[in-house]
């Protein structure tokens, strides 16, 4: 990894969000992710993080994010410890700060944290010496998802300069949408959010973000479309939603020719997206999942000062 040897030190101790990252910083993560992808298939860099112990504290259910962080840490030689929150002292009333401090004392050096409360990452970062990697905090941020989406989009479109990403669905409750807005705009792209009025409320105040309240307006001319998971527990009028906002091959014609479709997963097939579109040739959903491990390898290595 001689290329990284001359790169300046990564300026951040934690990864709480991509908000505030410069374009150069994001591109550095993406370039490193590509190098990590190659290294992983060549089984190189397998002791890069051997000094680190990566803790996985998921207070909310997750499969793909947790597994890909764990695989990323292991691919670089880190020790991993999975704090399965159900059944641990965290569910017996121990506060987040107490749990985080305990993990630090046991020797965890990097903590991957998912929590239902927005700002949980900042709280952990303020109260421990570990590196904190935010794997989702409430509806606030999911930076590694935005970074893997950016890598996927960059590889599919050749770049994001001047490109329009449409994000449709329950944007107001989406950490994926918020982090993607920061990431795509930093890379020179534009974002349009679309959904029923209550699901895009407040986004008119975001600089550089357009708001649409019909699907056709939302994706018209978009260079890529990202549809979000309908959260069934939010009591959405599901039939209505499906009728008005479900992405299918026909509706993709409103977007730019050959525009790809993305989804952060897991999909509710038939609800926000048809199985045909999700599994068809325009779908980047599989690529998003594949990019999860190398992007997380890259951020782990950067935070640890190993790249």
């Amino acid at each position: 990894m001689t290329v990284e040897a001359v790169a300046p030190a990564w300026p951040y101790r934690h990864l709480i969000d991509v908000e505030g990252f410069t374009r150069a910083e994001i591109e550095r993560v993406l370039d490193l992710a590509i190098a990590m992808r190659e290294a992983r298939s060549a089984r190189r860099n397998r002791s890069l993080l051997e000094a680190e112990t990566v803790g996985l504290a998921f207070y909310e259910a997750s499969t793909r994010t947790r597994v890909s962080f764990e695989l990323a840490a292991k691919a670089l030689g880190a020790t991993t410890v999975d704090l399965s929150v159900a059944g641990s002292s965290a569910t017996k009333g121990e506060s987040l700060v107490d749990t985080v401090r305990t993990l630090e004392r046991t020797g965890v050096t990097m903590l991957v944290l998912r929590h239902s409360a927005a700002g949980a990452g900042q709280l952990a970062a303020r109260t421990t010496g570990m590196h904190i990697l935010n794997a989702g905090d409430g509806a606030h941020a999911h930076p590694t998802q935005a970074l893997l989406d950016a890598l996927t989009l960059r590889e599919a479109l050749g770049g994001l300069d001047g490109r329009l990403l449409a994000i449709v669905g329950d944007v107001a409750h989406s950490r994926v949408a918020r982090s993607n807005i920061h990431c795509v705009t930093a890379l020179g792209g534009r974002v349009r959010v679309g959904g029923p009025a209550a699901w895009v409320e407040g986004f008119e105040s975001w600089p550089g973000v357009e708001v649409a309240t019909t699907l056709e307006d939302a994706i018209a001319g978009a260079d890529a479309v990202m549809t979000l998971r309908v959260q069934l527990e939010r009591g959405a009028q599901l039939d209505e939603h499906a009728a008005e906002w479900r992405m299918d091959d026909e509706r993709m014609a409103w977007a730019a020719p050959a525009a790809p479709i993305l989804h952060p997963g897991p999909t509710n097939e038939g609800l926000e997206i048809t199985a045909e579109l999700a599994n068809g040739t325009r779908s980047l959903i599989g690529r998003q999942v594949e990019n999860g491990v190398p992007v997380r390898m890259a951020v782990l290595a950067l935070l640890a000062g190993a790249a």
Partner: protein, 441 residues
């Protein structure tokens, strides 16, 4: 070195020489001496009286805080009547009015009597308007007035309506003491933790609609008009509520109101990590965002509303600054923002925030002094005067000196304020309550 005294100490004799003496009751603002003999303001000093150099300093009437939480009984780890009274003296206050949301609540005459204490300041009690603050039955209002209650409130919530609110207003009209109303409609507030707006959207925190305040202010103004009761609306956070109050006053409604230092100087951008006052450009700082120390009810205002409130204070529409001093242990703040106990301590920083607004040209010093002293005192039937013959009840402070807000610098049992680590103007040198020195540095 600083020291505290009590109202039970012997009266003081001293001469403050050459200070700027601001006396709102007399409408004067003069460079002069203030002579105190045996606790009384007089013309001729006692022969052996200590002389205090007041040059460059300001003398003002003792401050009166209409809204504090002392956590006694119930949460003495966060604050006690004793520590709260010291914090008050350190901040220049000589009277503080304690809200009844203790555990158990101050909802009967005996508890009012127990909490009416002369320590390092006068501690007065605001009784609960309903039994147990439960919002179901009217409490023994007249019994509590006889025991010394200076007002009533179900602070933490508005008195529920419409029938119960009306009977409380009617009873208070006869008793002549004010309802000190926390104007917040529970359904409209809907559990919001941050003012609705751009910061709420970026931070993905549950938004609080200003309608929650405006709706109750509107109802209370109508009830006050219909019943003749006095209503005092506390910790206003919306420009719309201030406008309604200005209109009602034109119609002759008996209404007074206060604003907290944090609602006129801090903004919702503080939740996003900014530490710039409302009259400065906000500077959000993501790593500092979501600090539980910024969680307060009502939530910190939008910048527009904070500036409108500050203008309302400058214009005299808003009567008073009240701190809503709300001590909490560090543990109750070191949790995710939405779970943090709402409240900010304010007794020791209120003058400093006011002086920061004065320095920024947003407020005139005599208006600030009146809003901290004579005008809130009038709401509870106290007077403030620096005229000869009065008992000395005053504060001497250095408006230009800076101090750093930190745990060791405050006398309160808690230090939950987002002003921590900031340097603020305004250092209190001397506080006298009822002729006794209660604080000196």
């Amino acid at each position: 070195m600083s020291s505290f005294g009590r109202l039970t100490d012997p009266p003081a004799s001293l001469v403050i020489v050459g200070a700027r003496v601001i006396d709102p009751a007399a409408g004067t603002d003069l460079l002069r001496d203030v002579v105190i003999r045996d606790g009384i303001v007089v013309e001729e000093p006692a022969p052996d009286a200590e002389r205090v150099d007041g040059r460059g300093l300001v003398v003002a009437p003792g401050f009166c805080d209409l809204h504090v939480h002392l956590r006694q009984p119930g949460s003495a780890g966060a604050e006690t009547i004793e520590s709260g009274a010291r914090a008050a003296a350190h901040g220049g206050f000589t009277t503080i009015c304690a809200m009844p949301n203790t555990d158990p609540p101050i909802d009967n005459a005996e508890r009012v009597r127990a909490g009416t204490v002369d320590g390092s300041c006068r501690v007065r009690q605001i009784g609960a308007a309903t039994v147990g603050r439960a919002g179901e039955a009217v409490a023994d209002l007249s019994g509590m007035v006889a025991a010394g209650a200076v007002g009533f409130s179900d602070d933490g919530a508005a008195v529920p309506g419409p029938e119960l609110a009306r009977s409380i207003f009617t009873a208070l009209a006869e008793l002549g003491v004010p309802l000190i109303e926390h104007a917040e409609h529970p359904e409209l507030a809907a559990g919001g933790v941050i003012r609705a707006g751009a910061a709420a959207s970026r931070l993905a925190l549950k938004p609080w609609s200003p309608e929650a305040e405006v709706a109750v202010v509107d109802r209370d103004l109508k009830l006050a008009e219909q019943t003749g009761a006095r209503v005092h609306l506390t910790h206003l956070s919306t420009a719309a509520a201030v406008a309604l109050i200005a209109d009602a006053r034109e119609r002759g409604v008996q209404v007074t109101c206060d604003v907290t230092p944090h609602h006129l100087a801090l903004t919702d951008a503080w939740v996003a990590g900014s530490r710039r006052f409302a009259w400065e450009e906000p500077e959000p700082d993501p790593p500092r965002a979501y600090d539980g120390l910024c969680r307060v009810n009502p939530p910190l205002a939008s910048r527009e509303d904070a500036l409108a409130i500050l203008a309302g204070l400058a214009d005299g529409i808003i009567d008073a600054i009240a701190t809503d001093h709300a001590p909490h242990s560090a543990e109750r703040k070191l949790v995710p923002f939405e779970d943090a106990a709402p409240g900010i301590v304010g007794l020791e920083t209120a003058l400093s925030i006011g002086l920061a607004a004065v320095e920024a040209g947003r407020l005139k010093l005599p208006v600030l002094i009146a809003a901290l002293s004579s005008r809130p005192a009038a709401v509870i039937g106290e007077t403030r005067s620096l005229a000869a013959g009065e008992r000395a009840d005053l504060v001497l402070f250095d408006p230009g000196a800076r101090w750093r807000v930190d745990r060791d610098a405050v006398a309160s049992g808690s230090a939950n304020t987002p002003l921590l680590d900031m340097e603020l103007p305004g250092v209190v040198r001397l506080t006298l309550a009822a002729g006794r020195i209660t604080y000196r540095s």
